[in-house]
Assembly symmetry: C2
Homo-oligomer: 311 residues x 2
């Protein structure tokens, strides 16, 4: 494993791919790989890109990644696919579109299945981001469909959250409605060539200013609202520049420290929850049956049984 | 505490009320009270009554409780109120209506607040049910609004699930749509005097038969569909009889053993989750900050920190 890690840390793409496969596998092997790689993390900018289905996230990310890669940095894309049968088709399409990028040696795309679309970002996505970070990728993009728990989770995974909106999705104030306004560091309005794009842009700008006017102290960072044409690539360098500015703001203001603490605190809690589930799943059937029997016979309470299994 | 428990077990209503208050309080006191009472449980029939808001659950439960109490058994009602501001009004109304029952010494009503309407049945409801069971209440009714997690949870708390539907709630096949068909042991269609009631009744009957026709083996229990007029009380004794029959079916078929195992298994898991949250909440700030600092410095992974805090 040490040889593999060394190769990956030195930039060997095949070694990175093998590390990712190992870190996603169930069992103790994954933990060891992650523990070995973790001390090398902390250099990448983790960028969460979220928004409703159909907003053009994948097209945007393709262009953004190509632009970042042309600056001689390596870019990782983690695409979180809900394995829901409803949206499977569209996401598969996205994935295929993004896999065109694989031809570019500077860009690495990894799809991570989420068990269901409401369950939020899987821990595997956090670990994959760490592997990319450790292996010298300058920007790690984490793409999620911006609904429910995912929206909260993306804040736990990313330094910078880019909320993607688009005109013509039936509701021009999606960003506000879906709570993206609360979490966005940058707003991107895609399909800038569509009719209605300038209205969407204006509405989000107004919402951002309204929101900031209601806070007492002048905000240290006002989320820029950037119009983007995913097909022509217009606006993509503006987005790249905004991401760069936000990273600078975070480190200079001390906000980076606060964000990272919040991110890790939440992540420790999630790891603990996972440990709990694992403990239950790996408790020998006999021991579990024995405790259950004692509860059935009223010899111990469910709380006492839980305590006994956990210890 | 022993004197109080003895009084409660002997049927002193004031002592029961005081036990309930203690078992709902945070801290170790609640655990001790529950541990002392738990060995005395296992005699009551736990009946979950669930259905959409506005289906007339409270009116039905009032009549049902009065009918059960006239058979010289003591009846407990646990009403789980989501403390959501949206539904607070209606539920408060329900509670007041049900508190009229308090005049009847055979009937005991307890409201338990749920933190939010999606979080499901609180553990306090399970513990309150145990206290009532231990103190000789023959039937413990647990009322929940039948949405989302509550629906799953009611199966963990009750031997017998009664799904309540009503005509005129905008959708005559609520029972099917909301998944109540999956979990109901008995269907009650309230407001039998309303126009549309017979159609609702027929639709649920058809759905029940369809569902049972698709299973290979002939079912041991076919959920009866009972029309009820909550105001006049017509049909309430039929419901009471159906509950009685279902209890008989459970004990005679051996299904009771299977259900109780499933109920306790889930409950042990939930108690474990609560222990986990508690561990995090009670971890001294200094220890938590220390672990967080080590993760920030990449000296341990979030998973290692979680393990350290839990042990």
């Amino acid at each position: 494993m040490k040889g593999l890690l060394r190769s990956a840390l030195n930039g060997d793409v095949t070694a990175v791919a093998r590390l990712l496969t190992r870190v996603e596998a169930p069992g103790d092997g994954a933990r060891e790989v992650h523990e070995a790689a973790f001390p090398h993390t902390g250099k990448a900018q983790l960028v969460g890109i979220t928004g409703p289905a159909g907003a053009g996230k994948s097209t945007l990310i393709s262009k953004l990644a190509a632009s970042l890669a042309s600056d001689e940095q390596r870019v990782a894309i983690i695409a979180c696919d809900p394995s829901s049968p409803n949206s499977g088709g569209a996401l598969l399409g996205d994935r295929i579109r993004m896999h065109e990028l694989v031809a570019n040696q500077q860009i690495f795309v990894r799809s991570i299945a989420t068990r269901d679309s409401t369950g939020g970002l899987p821990l595997a996505a956090f670990r994959a981001a760490d592997i990319f970070d450790a292996c010298g990728f300058g920007t790690v993009i984490i793409e999620t469909v911006g609904t429910g728990q995912n929206q909260v989770d993306i804040m736990q995974a990313a330094h910078t959250v880019v909320a993607v909106s688009a005109p013509g999705l039936g509701d021009d104030i999606q960003a506000m409605k879906s709570g993206l306004l609360e979490i966005a560091d940058i707003h991107a309005v895609t399909k800038s060539d569509f009719s209605g794009a300038s209205r969407t842009l204006l509405e989000i700008q107004n919402a951002v200013h309204m929101r900031h006017r209601t806070t007492e102290a002048p905000p240290a960072w006002t989320p820029p609202v950037i119009a983007i044409n995913g097909l022509s690539g217009d606006g993509v360098t503006d987005l790249q520049q905004a991401m760069h500015s936000h990273y600078g703001h975070l480190t200079e203001s001390g906000e980076m420290q606060i964000r990272c603490q919040r991110m890790f605190r939440e992540r420790i809690y999630r790891e603990a929850t996972r440990l709990l589930t694992q403990t239950f799943e790996t408790t020998p059937d006999k021991q579990m049956a024995d405790k259950l029997q004692q509860v059935m016979q009223r010899k111990m309470t469910p709380a006492q049984a839980a305590r006994a299994i956990l210890s």
